[in-house]
Symmetry: C2
Subunit: 201 residues, 2 copies
């Protein structure tokens, strides 16, 4: 039995996991149950997940094509930055074979008078891309933000040549608010723009 | 005698101060010398400056009209956030009576492939506004960023109703890249937009 607060908000994100598709929220322990069309479970990240996350995260950061992080970022710095304590929230996506295939972190984008807009960051194992994991994580982040009372979500720096991401966020209702010209030094394409993307919730 | 590196870059920002107007850089100790038209000296912030900075900074943050900081930000959090160690840089503006009238901090806006774009934040004592201090700090930040090899400067969240700031940055060569709608909850105007502003260097 799924359990929601009256307003549809999941009461305790630490105990519940998101199943894309028809079945949305279920206890994290019920991992064997699968939504037929989608093969990914999203649950809160735990400290012991890091050793399964860092190898693909490290590769994505070192490639330098999609993230404005220092390409030689080390495991400790990355863990501090990515594994958020409440009110921030970090999740992992786990496939049907219990392999950790992606992760996302989400939190407010600004403080004080700007704290009603959320932001989020996403990484999917490049070797397990194109299976809907990014979309599932995006849907999860939007549901999380909505249920926490945020009125919008903003991405601050989407690399314009990362068309998979731009198209995914567009399909999830985001618009490009503006593009900072040449703000990203792409290792293959040279200086390219960084999109600011936003959608209301 | 002014001292520049061959490329026009000031060699050690800890020892030099910026004088708006014709005389640009001079040793910080030469504080009595004044550029005739402009009454403000900009020099690196020191720890002992904090007690003169925090009263007006606290008021600006508590007013909640221009900064996306928690309005109850305390002195310790603010000092950690504002007083940057290298490679970041924090300065104060001092008037002819040695009163501390403004401050700015500047640093890279993103890491890794985005680290060639700088950002900066500014606060001027509201009781000493409209005397060119903001412009002097802005010019200083641009000169600092240029001399440190940045190829652009980006402001991430300029409140659209803060017309003094928007007009100042526009006059200094910045353009509005885009506006995140309703991303700032203004205490008098309701939800207003946050401009992303940028200029090349």
């Amino acid at each position: 039995m799924l359990r929601f607060a009256d307003d549809g908000r999941v009461e305790d994100y630490e105990k519940w996991a998101y199943w894309p598709g028809k079945l949305h929220w279920a206890p994290t322990r019920r991992r064997r149950r699968r939504d037929e069309g989608r093969e990914v479970l999203i649950r809160p990240a735990a400290g012991h997940d890091w050793s399964s996350m860092w190898p693909f995260m490290r590769r994505i950061v070192a490639d330098g094509e999609t993230y404005s992080y220092d390409r030689d970022l080390d495991s400790g710095e990355a863990k501090t930055m990515w594994m958020l304590a409440p009110p921030g929230h970090t999740v992992v996506a786990v496939d049907a074979d219990s392999a950790l295939v992606g992760t996302a972190k989400m939190h407010r984008n600004q403080g004080g008078p700007g704290s009603h807009v959320a932001t989020a960051s996403f990484m999917v194992d490049p070797e397990r891309a194109r299976r809907g994991t990014g979309r599932a994580l995006g849907e999860y982040a939007l549901a999380w933000a909505r249920s926490h009372g945020f009125s919008g979500m903003q991405f601050n720096a989407v690399v314009e040549t990362n068309t998979a991401a731009v198209n995914l966020w567009t399909s999830l209702g985001f618009s490009v608010i503006g593009t900072v010209p040449g703000a990203f030094r792409h290792p293959r394409h040279g200086d390219v723009g960084l999109h600011v993307m936003f959608r209301r919730l």
